[in-house]
Amino acid sequence: MSGAPDLFLRRIVIVGGGSAGWMTAAALSSLLDPKQVRITLVESEAIGTIGVGEATIPDILNFNRLLGIPEAEFMRAAQATFKLGIEFVDWKKQGRSYFHPFGQHGVDMQGIDFHQYWLFSHAHGNPARIQDYSLCAQAASRNRFALPDPNPDSVMSHIRYAYHLDATRYAQFLRVYAGKRGVKRIGEKVDLVNLDGESGFIKSVRLENGTAVHGDMFFDCTGFRALLIEKALGVGFHDWSHWLPCDSAQAVATEHSGPLLPYTVAAAKSAGWQWRIPTQTRTGNGYIYASDLMSDKDATDNLLAGLDGPTITDPGQLRFRTGCRKTFWYKNCVAIGLSAGFLEPLESTSIFLIQEGISKFISLFPNADFPPVVTEEYNRQLGLKFEQVRDFIILHYKATERDDSAFWNYCRNMAIPDRLTHKIELFREAGRVFRYEDELFSTSSWVAVMLGQGITPKTCDPIVSTLPRRQVDSSLISMRRAVTRAAETLPTHAQFIQKYCPAAA
């Protein structure tokens, strides 16, 4: 064989134009020269996109930065608002809520996690909640927002944020971006996938109009349909519904009412939970439930009863299965987005997992001979990511005191993955959190959710108790004061958006 360049991928085909498809197209087009590599995206208006998916986590900032997208421009286009965290209502038990903020609680001191100091002081009568030491939580509870201060000495440097956005508009925005960088879009339905008889690789996809689109490399971004990876290539699925039993959603948009919240609300319900996510022009609402424990009709009624403004769309129903692909990259096809897996939207991780799929692909960018060492490594890394996120989400269901419905009784008593059991036991002993390296959720996140869900450590780390109590108390008081003062001086979320990135009316 001759020199390496002949092995280059020359034609990349992306099937699907939801967030997954357009994020993939945009990222690849930002790096590849269209003269060297041709990228084509096929999407079908007849099928359409899933159209939900509005909350994100801070990693999306990296993605946009990598693409060189100016924030305000993107926010105007996607009608986006800011998100400082999630308020969990009624999860531990009815009538109780907690806040899972982005960023840290307080400040770690002397190499010891902040929450250990808090546990110590709390055990000695300090009534403040751990979220009172988080700037994001404090700003959120006041409906206030400002961008972080780049100066690391400033309290305001502790702000971490993500967005609430209109996923359809975000995809449209990326479509324009990718179009400018040479991505060719075809609006047709794929009706057949042609495989090479010998190698089993995908040779081309046939469109309804009879033409074929050939490629060296295919991305399956067809959503739950998984047209390439499953229907054509037969790759199986790890079903995790015994851990994450919800399988249905009803979604509806409403008019705003009340102040513009800079956070997501996730309220636990009798057979699932309900989200509320404000974009600039509407509020997205959805009810997620287990269909064998609640009828669709009851779910719709429950959803409509739990709204705080008039609806502007009709409720739409979705079915899904929680779990992920056994192999994400098989032959010359990579599944990204819902075709790769879905862990339900409780911690807004879907867009993040799309990003991971893209960035791991880019770092492993293959030649056209697809050496197995490349695909194996990709599959190993993505599998780990899905499992780590999965365990964090399961924690919310498992650690609960609720016993008011069959749903919660099931969750409270279900068996969970061993690794999660160990994490919970370690935390219960002395508030210790051991993160695996590269894990998405930080120590602060684990702590917020463990405490919020009612896992109370028996005691704090003995090493913290060597410190004089007065000294610990006074550091905590001054931290809390600084955080509160900073939060109080911020503009409201609505004011900030109005100045920074108002969407066209």
Binding site: P5, P371, V373, V374, L426, E429, E437, I463, T466
Partner: protein, 478 residues
């Protein structure tokens, strides 16, 4: 309510015992009483901790109360930019396994790809710590990111015996009871240890026993914890006075029968030799078993250092693992008699720390044309993880990392290139980059490193001046 942990007994008198004592005495509340049972002669294998540390030692020593000025004034420790492997498995294989911050990336292309295939130069030509090491010069890496030297990292060259003594003197001012006796017998029951009888017929009790008794692991052995041997070697060592210059590198020379390491601390040269166990040609040595205990924490007894594992000192792995043992223990100090949760987490991480440090050592011996001698053949061992590391690197130059590895991505890249492994397929984006641009950037980088190194003082001169300064300002313990 369970009985709280109030009494901790550290059993052992070598480096592991005193490092553990230093760390615990700093961290624990006053209500917990700490006793060291200083068993005579447990330090006789301390030389197996090697004579080098990785850069992480700086922060660790500081945390246990031994600052760099203390270390320099209490011992003859010198600085280390890494290890120079020479004639490694073949007469022509030599490289500097230096310590370095992440390599620069350009236009989304990781440095290793950027440089692969563009030049005949070796990776170490572009690494300031390797170049400085080879020239025998040293200076502390500055903070300013623009200066090439800021990319260097350093560890220490040290004598384990001296380090142990320094820690003893540091700890002596703290609230610790020390008893010096042999152990006569370890009394156990189904939950663990309930007493240690010493040669003077005292029965020592504690809530937590820490086994620092060296490779014999007197406590864990009494609890029937098996040792999983990996291989046996013969080792010997000696210290001789030596005059400057002292290179800021440890030298490791390979030979058909094993290897010899030379470490110059200030005024002394420590020579350490390892071979196969055929005593005919290596009479003076002792036989050593590398391997680990199946568990490092059993019941109310936890082991640190050699009592938990003995690992080949061919790299800084032994000190890395000792540090990990102590940090792991600090993070898991048990609160009460029931220690099952802590023990499980400790053992889980012990297992993976050992495995991952050992991977690096195994990679050093993974040579296809290794000499056909007992030493090199016995050292061959390639599990799944190592195969993945090597094949990912060779095929695509991709770094494979596992959870919480002690050796970082740069260590691995330097190792692969040093051993002569090549990247078959460069990163796609490297292929697209403008080759003239790459060549001129590389030439500039190489030149700026060469110029930096020319301006640095000889290692021994730098250290002498530094110590004179510390003495004058009275910084650090003497």
């Amino acid at each position: 309510m369970d009985k709280p942990v109030k009494d901790i007994l550290i059993c052992g008198g070598g480096l592991a015992a005193w490092i553990t004592a230093a760390a615990l005495s700093r961290a624990l509340p006053d209500e917990v009483s700490l006793t060291v049972l200083d068993i005579p002669d447990t330090d006789k294998f301390d030389m197996l901790y090697g004579t080098v540390t990785a850069p992480a030692a700086y922060g660790f020593f500081l945390e246990i109360g031994l600052s760099e000025p203390d270390l320099l004034r209490l011992t003859h420790t010198a600085f280390s930019f890494g290890t120079h492997y020479m004639q490694w498995g073949s007469p022509s294989r030599s490289w500097v396994q230096c310590h370095h911050l992440p390599f620069p990336a350009r236009d989304n292309v990781p440095f290793v790809h950027y440089f692969t295939g563009r030049t005949d130069a070796r990776l170490e030509d572009f690494l300031v710590s390797a170049q400085a090491g080879l020239r025998g010069v040293f200076a502390h890496p500055p903070e300013q990111a623009r200066i090439p030297l800021s990319r260097a990292e350093y560890g220490y060259l040290f004598s384990p015996i001296e380090l142990c003594n320094a820690l003893k003197s540091v700890v002596s001012s703290r609230n610790i009871t020390v008893k010096a006796h042999e152990i006569r017998c370890v009394r156990t029951n189904e939950t663990g240890i309930f007493g240690i009888e010493t040669a003077d017929e005292k029965n020592l009790q504690a809530d937590l026993f820490i086994d620092c008794s060296g490779p014999d692991a007197k406590l864990l052995t009494a609890l029937n914890t098996a040792f999983t041997p990996e291989r046996e070697v013969r080792a010997s060592w000696q210290c001789l006075p030596s005059a400057p210059p002292w290179p800021p590198l440890r030298n490791v020379h390979g030979s058909d029968r094993g290897w010899t390491a030379g470490t110059s601390v200030r005024g002394q040269k420590i020579t350490f030799q390892i071979s196969d166990t055929d005593s005919e040609h290596h009479k003076s040595g002792r036989n050593i078993l590398f391997g680990k205990r199946e568990k490092a924490w059993v019941g109310n007894c936890v082991a640190t250092g050699h009592a938990a594992s003995v690992i080949d000192p061919v790299s800084p792995a032994p000190m890395m693992l000792l540090q990990r043992d102590v940090e792991r223990l600090l993070g898991l100090i048990p609160l009460s008699e029931d220690m099952t949760v802590e023990a499980r987490e400790y053992n889980r991480r012990f297992e993976s720390d050992f495995e991952h440090a050992n991977l690096f050592n195994q990679a050093l011996y993974a040579i296809d044309d290794a000499p056909d001698t007992p030493f090199w053949q016995q050292a061959q061992s390639r599990g799944d993880k190592l195969r993945r590391k090597i094949s990912q690197f060779e095929n695509r130059g991709i770094p494979v990392a596992f959870d919480m590895e002690s050796f970082n991505e740069e260590d691995w890249s330097i190792l692969h290139f040093g051993m002569g492994r090549k990247i078959k397929n460069r990163n796609f984006f490297a292929e697209l980059a403008d080759t003239r641009d790459i060549d001129s950037n590389l030439a500039k980088l190489k030149q700026s490193i060469a110029q930096t190194v020319l301006k640095m003082p000889p290692h021994h001169v730098y250290i002498s001046k530094l110590i004179a300064y510390l003495e004058r300002k009275n910084v650090g313990r003497a």
